[in-house]
Homo-oligomer: 349 residues x 2
């Protein structure tokens, strides 16, 4: 029924081994033979059997990309950049490698399930993006999984989450703490004193680091952090909306708002507008990330050195090429966090 390597070999009058060699281009093959083979491939409209190939070669051309939420442009950009990098040399459309994008929803179980699924597929590489869940048990489970993956030859790259000790993985991290500090310091320098903070979900590295940076800035300005001005919630628009309403209820006098990411910032803006407040005249809003739509909602505040897409592209490159990785397997590449915001001086300040 379906055309196999043997059929091609027969038609080209060569052995299956030769056809395989031509297709993989790993071994030297006489030009004439190669032509004959390619012609046969074309005539028979032959398509390699991936599973068979992967079985024999003990590796596949699949690259897993774990994201917290593919519907969030932040991860869409990451996935896109990684995918662009994993294509084979020559940048031929689609390349050889296929990106398997896995939506974890930020759920620990799903993260593990997907890693197992990718292990099952004998994925060539796996890129884990976004903040990690900070739960001791889960961290250990993930570490164990990653260890098993790397032992099986799968390359693992972490992008936006802390390195995992004792694993042959490479981590590319963002300066969440520093970015948050700068952001809040900037607001403080403008005279803001009552600053609300819409934080991400609990038990997440990004949430914690950004919040720590925020607190550092406040502490530096002399004041302690008013805990009633911090509200946690998921990294989505609805959460930004809800949290902002909550904050406005608690502190009608706040003049600035920091959102844990751009998507959350959008929800915050919506809540502020609904409350009749003008941005940034009444309340300044600042968010992280570097999503295109935030340019409209929240004009740029701080420039960044390593755009999100470039960071992700780099992760993709590392996944494909050990050489691209920093020296030492488990190293850390410092990126810069994106910081955007719409800022103004506080009312009566």
């Amino acid at each position: 029924m379906t055309v196999t390597l043997a059929d091609v070999a027969a038609r080209a009058q060569v052995s299956p081994a030769t056809v395989s060699r031509v297709l993989n281009g790993n071994y030297p093959v006489a030009a004439a033979t190669r032509e004959r083979v390619l012609k046969a491939v074309d005539e028979l409209d032959y398509v390699l059997n991936g599973p068979a190939s992967s079985l024999a070669a003990a590796t596949s051309d699949l690259v897993g990309v774990l994201v917290n939420d593919i519907a969030d442009p932040f991860f869409g950009i990451m996935a896109s950049a990684v995918q662009a990098e994993i294509v084979g040399p020559g940048g031929r459309a689609g390349g050889e490698r296929l990106a398997v994008v896995c939506n974890t929803g930020g759920l620990p179980e799903r993260e593990l399930t997907y890693l197992t699924l990718l292990q099952r597929q004998r994925a060539a590489a796996v890129v884990l993006t976004g903040g990690a869940v900070e739960n001791e048990e889960h961290i250990a489970a993930v570490a164990a999984k990653l260890r098993r993956l790397t032992e099986a030859g799968t390359r693992v790259v972490l992008c936006g989450r802390p390195p995992v000790p004792d694993t042959d993985t490479v981590a590319l991290t963002f300066d969440n703490r520093g970015g948050a500090r700068q952001l809040t310091e900037h607001l403080l320098s403008l005279g803001h004193r009552r600053i609300g903070y819409v934080a991400g979900p609990e038990e997440r590295t990004t949430t914690r680091h950004r919040l720590e940076g925020h607190r550092e800035a406040l502490a530096g300005a002399g004041g302690p952090t008013p805990d009633d001005l911090v509200v946690h919630g998921p990294y989505d628009r609805a959460s930004g909306y809800t949290a902002t309403r909550e904050l406005l209820g608690r502190a009608p006098d706040l003049t600035a708002l920091v959102a844990a990411n751009d998507t959350v910032a959008l929800g915050a803006c919506a809540a502020l507008r609904e409350a009749g407040l003008r941005i940034p005249e009444d309340v300044s809003v600042a968010g992280f990330d570097d999503l295109p739509f935030s340019v409209d909602a929240v004009p740029a505040l701080t420039t960044v050195r390593l755009p999100l897409s470039e960071a992700a592209a780099r992760a993709g490159r590392i996944a494909m090429d050990r050489e691209a990785a920093p020296e030492g397997g488990v190293d850390e590449v410092r990126g810069e966090l994106m910081v955007r915001g719409s800022t103004g001086v506080p009312r009566e300040a």
Copy 2:
């Protein structure tokens, strides 16, 4: 080195065949035996070899999802919804199936390359999302590919693009023409007469259908379509920005603007703001799609019957289950197009 089915069989004191049956749950296996096998699987930390399994079974648990631009939230939402539906029964995290998201960038070659790659992987199903390129040669090539895929047992679902004749595929289409007509009619009813139109890229079904709807509405209002008020460009933010500046240059008197999609609308808004115009006081903006961020940029205008995510989820369901498909292989499911907009009465109208 790595644990195989045989190892599990040995430890559980059964034949490999039995282990396979337990793992796949397709054949009846004595409860006691099953327990013993699962125990062995657990103890050995066994992970099935996907490629080997796919080779033997002649099908994989991979589902391809072709999107034009994964960084665009529109497709992110689609990919997300499809992925949520293709997980195995019980909705277990990650399920059995893996979504392979392929970024075509709207390029015909890449679309074909990805289809070949998925064919090579013996994908269980393929979902093509978004508008199709209207190029005779390409259409024929895609049709041929899809035919080959379905013949090989791969289920193919089209979501947001026209059916492909003579193929065993299912299409789920949106009413692009009708949506566009309604949108423009709405603007006309508000008194707008000079309406700019930022169209999508040429040779794309969505571009053509939406533009046709727009022209129908204008024609219905008596006037011919002023061609100088239509500018084409890619479906991205930059294009919306550029096109809007172009339109403002050509017709400083326009009071409304229709953007081919939400992402384009954002760019349009940015250009308008930059020009010192207020939305919707000076210029009304309307866009398609149903992206969360557009709620901020462009308040809702028209409600919709079938939200984008639900449409995509349905496509995912059809991909997995022939029963979910409309009667007749090549049928058409009518969805409703998302229409959003920020509208106001025209200046001095």
